[in-house]
């Protein structure tokens, strides 16, 4: 409730000013001017507020109750056991007993599209509060594509994300993933090329573990698209470059072995034809 008390007036003001800025000539379009106006008014508090909203989305995913699990469930397909916590808590005194009954506890997940969509307003609010919160775009894109089955909305959201965070390769990679799910290889390739260029331009591309992982994934996707286009040599080169960067190597190793085999077969076929 504490966070909600703080959040409501701030959210209302943010939304109000956001709407106002949208209607002021010259600020229309949601670009830098609007961002500056909000930035001047709220400063770094916006970032904290935006992250609180993403946390709130996670809280909603758990039916409004924090169960102590700290993993990023909002952003993955795996679900943990729902029956591992008692619903009424440990009742000791009258006070604890009554609190245990009044306030829900335990571990519950939103299931089904009807309920899962309830996290969406908080992702929207997180982005409205801070358009530079990259995680909010990524969570929103995942949620809209995988859970809400609205990839077109996810693409619009990511386009806004790229517009507001032009040097962040993760957003281009997320856009490519959505395009791949729509079987739009051309658009996916364009986004992956953008992502690759931004990743290579990063000073910490090879040092930061998260950055290495992102770069590795971009290269794997580029390899897959090259393979689909019949360019086995380029695919193998991409997989080879991705292999040391990526954490879970098995699939990439298999893909690399497959493409190298295909290359060898093609080379030997070519030699035998020449012979």
């Amino acid at each position: 409730m504490k966070s909600a008390i703080l959040a409501i007036p701030l959210l209302a003001t943010t939304v109000g000013i956001g709407q106002f800025a949208h209607h002021v000539p010259g600020l229309n379009g949601g670009g830098c001017e609007q961002d500056d106006l909000l930035g001047q008014l709220f400063g770094s508090g916006r970032k904290a507020l935006s992250h609180r909203f993403v946390d709130r989305a996670d809280l909603y995913f758990h039916g409004g109750v924090h169960d102590g699990h700290q993993h990023e469930e909002l952003f993955c397909d795996e679900e943990h056991d729902d029956d591992d916590a008692p619903l009424d808590g440990g009742a000791k005194s009258f006070w604890a007993w009554l609190n245990g009954h009044i306030h829900p506890s335990g571990n519950a997940h939103l299931k089904g599209e009807r309920y899962e969509k309830e996290v969406i307003p908080w992702i929207w609010a997180a982005i409205a509060a801070d358009p530079h919160n990259v995680d909010a775009y990524l969570v929103g894109s995942y949620w809209l594509t995988r859970r809400m089955h609205k990839p077109e909305e996810a693409l619009k959201l990511l386009a806004r994300g790229v517009e507001n965070n032009s040097d962040v390769c993760e957003l281009d990679m997320a856009r490519a993933e959505v395009c791949l799910s729509l079987k739009d290889d051309g658009a996916a390739l364009d986004s992956l090329r953008d992502a690759e260029a931004k990743w290579r331009a990063r000073p910490d591309a090879m040092d930061d573990p998260r950055s290495r992982e992102v770069g590795g994934r971009v290269l794997v996707y580029l390899g897959i698209l090259a393979e689909r286009a019949g360019d086995t040599a380029q695919a193998a080169a991409r997989y080879r470059e991705a292999l040391p960067l990526i954490r879970v190597k098995e699939r990439v190793k298999r893909r690399l072995a497959h493409t190298e085999n295909a290359l060898r077969t093609r080379t030997s076929d070519g030699l035998s034809e020449q012979g």
């Binding site: 409730m1 504490k2 909600a4 008390i5 409501i8 959210l11 209302a12 939304v15 109000g16 709407q19 909603y60 039916g63 409004g64 109750v65 009258f94 006070w95 604890a96 007993w97 009554l98 609190n99 009954h101 009044i102 306030h103 829900p104 009807r114 969509k117 309830e118 969406i120 307003p121 908080w122 929207w124 929103g140 809209l144 809400m148 609205k150 909305e153 619009k156 959201l157």
Partner: protein
């Protein structure tokens, strides 16, 4: 048992005092300001386009219920806290006590007035909430919702009794600040007081435990989480226990208020 005596006469006098307090609230227009403020915040939020997804209600429920709670605390405390000080300030308490009205009846009448006035506001807020929730999702009055309204009324009775009691011993602003602080802090931290006491230093731990055992636990009446996220209703025995708890604490505050008012030099 003459015309002014007996249980009936006492009830009539308490009701007469209460009715005046109730009418005063509607004249002051506090409720209308709260409703307008609520509508100004909730309606734009309800009309936001959330990636073209329809039928999202929980965030609206959360914001609406938070506003209802905030407004009920503000209206409940401010209404109860000004009852007796306003009578003293305007010197209308003297003609009132010159009538065959006991001081106990004045305190009870003021409590009834403050509770009914803020309770009427609360009922109106919940009617709007049920209307909004029903139109947005088609879910009108559920069992959990009914329990939430009932417990909120009990909360209000306890809160007004506490603020009324405070108004007899404290200055108006001190009473407003202290009552709000107690209500909000207990709503926020009441449930976690034993945990906080376990982790505190010895002196702080004793203080926190004393607060835990003695202070009114306003959080017992807050069912917002259940309503927002559609959890199951509270078991009947827990509702009964919360009702008994509210009755005991309200009675304690009223007895204390009566004793303080009886000894007060006018």
């Amino acid at each position: 048992m003459g015309g002014n005596g007996g249980m009936n006469g006492e009830m009539r006098r308490i009701w007469a005092i209460g009715r005046v307090s109730m009418l005063e609230l509607f004249r002051r227009k506090d409720m209308y300001v709260a409703v307008i403020l609520g509508v100004v915040i909730v309606v734009p939020l309800a009309s936001v386009n959330l990636f073209g997804i329809e039928g999202i209600v929980r965030y609206l429920r959360e914001i609406s219920l938070l506003l209802i709670w905030l407004f009920s605390i503000v209206i409940g405390i401010s209404t109860a806290a000004r009852q007796i000080p306003a009578e003293l300030e305007r010197r209308t308490i003297y003609p009132l006590l010159a009538k065959p009205v006991a001081r106990r009846e004045v305190v009870l009448g003021k409590f009834v007035g403050a509770f009914l006035a803020s309770g009427t506001c609360l009922l109106f807020f919940y009617l709007l909430f049920v209307l909004l929730s029903g139109m947005k999702q088609g879910a009108w009055m559920t069992v959990c919702m009914f329990q939430a309204v009932l417990l909120h009324f009990l909360f209000l009775a306890l809160l007004t009794a506490m603020a009324l009691c405070g108004s007899i011993v404290l200055t108006h602003s001190a009473n407003l600040a202290l009552s709000s602080l107690v209500a909000v802090c207990m709503l926020l931290f009441g449930q976690r007081l034993p945990d906080l006491a376990d982790r505190a230093t010895l002196a702080a731990s004793i203080l926190l435990r004393a607060i835990h055992w003695l202070a009114p636990h306003f959080e017992f009446f807050d069912l917002r989480l259940r309503v927002i996220h559609g959890w199951d209703p509270v078991p009947a025995q827990a509702v009964a226990a919360a009702t008994a708890y509210a009755a005991v604490y309200t009675a304690l505050f009223l007895v204390l208020a009566f004793n303080l008012f009886r000894r007060k030099q006018l």
